[in-house]
Symmetry: C2
Subunit: 708 residues, 2 copies
């Protein structure tokens, strides 16, 4: 991946100026708090920002009670941050003026740049160059700015702050889309989420989502971040931020939209269709322990759960319920999400059963409606679940009872006292007025109306715990394959296989010959049965071209197959240059895999592994990771395949050598990274995995256009 | 499936008495409106029930203002419905008294029956028998009763009616679980859902979810029903109700919990693990056009969408947005759910682009924030989408703007006027106070906060439309296979294959012999290469036992394979009775499928089809339907396989005869239904599909215990 050295940690100063400026100028300031140039001022005043706020507008003396300046140069003190709320055509001049004033960072609200096409593109490039020449960073253009609850910094015109700021808390929100960012900000208020920082990055001519994420993860006031993004501009910073988050035990959830295929070159190779940019993105976040949210509610549920709960310790779930039906529903949901519901210890069950004979103390623990006549039942069961059941996660279904005038207050006390100091994430399913919900939340208890969502939120906490535990797990060393520079011209199969051998991946003994007669001689040298394949860099799919003949058991079979092959290939691919016939012995039985790498235009090389050619393509059972990967990580990719059982021996077949597969995958990933600038894709299809060892039966290397 | 003739349409009288009684007695009536015996009376009074309500309690003269009777016999008039709010031990006597009084139906609140195990079981059977002897139907026991908004009939003690009844509307809710039913009722109020009938069936000793569904579908006041169920007691009524719903254009969504495997007999056959009862249930509702809801919110979203919207006309979606990001998000969600987003007509795009140069009029149609300064833009774009784009479904993202003091009222008018008489389902994404949401809903516009949920709700409407269109689609005739009665003793492979042939499914020519020498003679008669398999009814999986040898190309290969097979099988399966060796010619190339039937204890025979043995088992790519099915429906099952491309010819392989596969699947399903009482499962594995025709290469028939 391409490192942008302009954007290293030295630039965290600029991010600090963006989030924590001491002084702010609003170019295009308006007296009307409904207008783009007026809103930020109104917000600054309402938020009690401690720094200096300087409206700039040549037509006014005073704006919203603040002294107004005719231009930025007239401002007496220094200006850390300048907001530009002016027409796009006036931006270049204003950026120059900011540069002269020594502004560190500009929040550029103006639209009409690259989002409108060519004309806007040119203007964006121009503005960018000016800013760079002064060392100014830009947020935007076409952005809604940001909000920092820590210091009341509000360089934003989002309507999401109308009607009040979010409550105090430790959640960060980052969004590329402005309007959707407003939607998120408004939702965060109705969801009672403590959002301390919110930022919209717009066109990202300079500052990106990844940089904002790194800043938030570095910040002491943020524990969990939700990102809404359309594309990744600098994956290296995203990776660095995610690594820092994982190491610090901070959670990141990302909603990425705009799922699409890698590019047009992709069609040439099967791997391409399986490692499109969305797969690469998914691979990245899987690898570094962020959680993908597929809907806005999923994202909010994760933020809500992580911001309220203690860190999970594992994935066992205890279910407490007054309804057998709800218990079953939650058990179904938990199983689906990979949580387990171990039974309560036998003695505990016996004791609880004696105490409440109509109950079901196994897990789900159904206390039945009896709990309402006998509140200590609830505490006793909850306590037993925490201390004897030892569950990592707890969920309790008490429906509208928690909001009931009769039972509500009592239940609040039972649960708040019961969960205190247990250190376990606890989700309650129920319906209640907001004031009661707030009391539960103040006690560190989540409340959901939908049981399935509660269980999903708990499972997210378990996944974060798993990822935090892996933060410094020993991943092992990358294999040393030496320094192999792949050719950038078309590479024929025999050459590709020789390169695989050099990489440390076994290939069959084989010979390339020119005539059917030579094929027979070669076959007689290596012993029957043999296979013959056409050798031509112009024919990526040999079977369709009639260029493959298998299981040839004697000389006459080899000769007639070779004659037919040359004839058929000539007919089907008249323009292909034929370099000969490859003769090789038939290989022992095993399971065929497909292993490949593909250059993602953003992420760089990704590596994939799947089962069997046709099944990989049609059933899409493949695992993908950013390259390079260690054999240990390759093994975990292989283990994640739905069809992994095929490798472990089913119905009397012998298990194959999974470690050898992992080694080959790892080596191929290293090769791809070494040649990231020149090679589009490498594919071994099939890689035959045998009870001992693997062998690459076919290899295809596609060079891309020479990259920068 | 077993038809319970007791529960035919003649019994709709009893359901009518349950939902529309003219007179109600409450046995165990209480003066305290918080108690189980007091709540229904309070609800009846509050709901303004027009019929007679008779509290029964020997200790009181008057209860909640109504005259109280010492026992049911003392009530002057007739009693249609009796509520029993008494201890379980008193129920039998009370039911007798009800019988003597001529009560038609009892709502049995009391718990302590089959849900607590054996002791309760016995009591339930006793109560049932008494009720049956008087011709009384029972709702419950262990149920929370029901609510009918049409007439204020409230024989229920659910706390879900505390704080008010649901608003008027055309939604029905049916729930097995009482406590979860209360949760649903409470949610339906916070979701502003017009629930006119709600019922909880509890233990279902008599009245079931399916019967209640049929009653609601027959009712003029219900358009859409949500069911929460744990198991299906009478699938034949469920099917009848779903067929009626589909024919009437009424929507049914079902949430079924407690996903589990068929039974212990299942392990004997591979099919079993794939057609567990949840798969059968899914097959049933797929077949009859209901929609499965996997979460409570999904169910509510479907009910909300169907109750507010006109019927969908197809699956094209028009997306109107003020945010490019939100547009992409919705496009992603729509594609995922099978909706399509065709582009607006070129001329329309050109016109709209001219009108709003910063907009994007393709689809998603992004009007940008300009819309706020120029409201006619919204109307013009919406109008163009309806009339020129011609979309079946519409969604619009306007975030908190719809609740904005400045823009809210104007947007409400634009959208209400704009969608009026277009006859299209329309979902709006936004945030607003409840009073504004209610105005949108009154105009037939759904409002969601989460765009993904809005798109999912629209896609549900498209699916219902599809299902309604299929209500009277010609499904064709079942194949006539004659009357084949399968043996109920263990059936060996050769016999099973002969039965397949009789059913009209081709099998290989083959001979069964006793010795290796005879095997060689048979092979010489039929021509090489051949396969040999062990013949034994005791060995279901022959490969593991060493009982299969393929591709034997000459006499010596046949002889040595046969000798080795007899030896290996003897070692591995010493107890199996060996009936000989089956010799058959090797079959032509093609694609191997697995086709089977399995008796579901509830649904009766189900039929499944999948690709290849190992891939079916491990990748679970199978399609399931209740049997019998026509070849047309079999074809649509096959088309639904993820791997169907394998059958249509990939990478130069010839397409196979899908119609012949469908015919075999259909014939097998008819055979299973003919033998539903005696046969547990039939499996053809593999069924080889060739470019022309199919052939059953192995067949296994398992007889069950003789059923009733």
């Amino acid at each position: 991946m391409v490192l942008d050295t302009n954007k290293d940690e030295a630039n965290s100063d600029a991010l600090a100026a963006l989030f924590e400026p001491r002084s702010v100028a609003i170019i295009g300031a308006s007296a009307n708090p409904e207008r783009i140039g007026g809103r930020p001022i109104a917000y600054y005043l309402k938020a009690g920002f401690k720094g200096d706020v300087y409206p700039v507008n040549p037509n006014r003396e005073e704006i919203q009670g603040l002294k107004c300046y005719p231009d930025i140069s007239a401002i007496p003190g220094t200006v850390d941050l300048a907001i530009l709320a002016i027409a796009s055509t006036a931006v270049a001049t204003a950026v120059k003026a900011c540069g002269e004033k020594g502004v560190k960072v500009i929040v550029l609200f103006s639209a009409g740049f690259s989002e409108i096409g060519e004309a806007g593109d040119a203007m964006q490039v121009e503005v960018d160059a000016i800013a760079r020449s002064y060392g100014i960073r830009i947020l935007g253009p076409n952005c809604l700015g940001l909000y920092n609850g820590d210091n009341g910094n509000c360089p934003t015109f989002t309507s999401g702050l109308e009607g009040g700021f979010p409550r105090a808390g430790r959640v960060g929100l980052i969004t590329q889309s402005g309007a959707y960012g407003t939607h998120l900000l408004t939702m965060s208020k109705s969801r009672r989420l403590g959002v301390t920082k919110w930022i919209s990055t717009g066109n990202e001519s300079d500052v990106t989502v990844a940089e904002c994420l790194e800043y938030m993860i570095d910040s002491d006031s943020v524990d969990v971040v939700g990102c809404y993004m359309e594309g990744v501009k600098n994956p290296e910073i995203l990776i660095r931020a995610l690594k820092k988050a994982r190491a610090a035990g901070k959670a990141v959830t990302i909603m990425k939209v705009g799922v699409s295929e890698v590019g047009s070159e992709a069609v040439q190779s099967h791997t391409a269709s399986l490692t499109g940019s969305d797969a690469s993105f998914q691979a990245l976040i899987d690898q570094y322990g962020a959680l993908r949210a597929y809907t806005t509610e999923q994202m909010f549920d994760i933020l809500y759960a992580f911001s309220l709960s203690p860190r999970a310790t594992g994935g066992t779930l205890g279910v407490l319920t007054v309804s057998g039906g709800a218990g079953v529903l939650m058990a179904d949901a938990a199983e689906e999400l990979g949580l387990t519901l171990p039974a309560m210890p036998e003695e505990t069950q016996a004791r609880l059963m004696k105490r409440n004979p109509l109950g079901a103390p196994r897990n789900p623990v159904d206390v039945t409606a009896n709990a309402l006549n006998d509140f200590p039942l609830v505490s006793e069961n909850l306590d037993a679940m925490c201390n004897e059941g030892g569950y990592d996660l707890l969920v309790a279904f008490f429906t509208s009872l928690i909001g009931s005038p009769v039972h509500g207050e009592k239940l609040l006390k039972v649960f708040s006292d019961g969960i205190k100091e247990q250190g376990k994430p606890f989700a309650l399913i129920g319906q209640a007025p907001v004031d009661i919900l707030e009391k539960y939340e103040a006690a560190g208890i989540m409340v959901f109306e939908d049981p399935s969502r509660a269980v999903a939120a708990l499972s997210a906490l378990a996944k974060f715990n798993e990822s935090f535990n892996q933060a410094d797990a020993d991943e092992g060393e990358l294999p040393d394959i030496g320094n192999i520079e792949l050719p950038t011209e078309k590479i024929a199969e025999d050459e590709a296989k020789a390169l695989m051998l050099e990489t440390g991946i076994p290939v069959p003994a084989e010979e390339v010959v020119d005539t059917p007669k030579q094929a027979v001689e070669a076959a007689e040298r290596m012993g029957f049965p043999v296979v013959i394949k056409i050798v031509s860099a112009d024919i990526p799919h040999k079977s369709e071209a009639g260029g493959v003949a298998l299981n040839l058991t004697d000389a006459s079979a080899v000769e007639s197959a070779a004659v037919l092959m040359l004839k058929t290939v000539k007919e089907r691919e008249p323009d292909a240059k034929i370099d000969g016939l490859l003769v090789a012995p038939m290989i022992g039985e095993g399971v065929d895999l497909i292993v490949g790498t593909q250059r993602d235009p953003v992420m760089g090389p990704v590596v994939m592994v799947g089962l069997g050619g046709i099944y990989t393509e049609i059933l899409k059972d493949v695992a993908v990771s950013l390259a390079p990967i260690t054999p240990k990580r390759a093994l975990s990719l292989i283990e994640s395949l739905r069809g992994v059982a095929l490798l472990k021996g089913v119905r009397g077949q012998e298990a194959v050598d999974i470690n050898a597969v992992a080694d080959a995958v790892s080596r191929l990933s290293v090769l791809a990274v070494q040649n990231a600038q020149t090679i589009e894709s490498i594919e071994i299809n099939p890689l035959r995995a045998m009870p001992s060892g693997v062998i690459a039966l076919d290899a295809l290397i596609l060079a891309g256009e020479q990259a920068e």
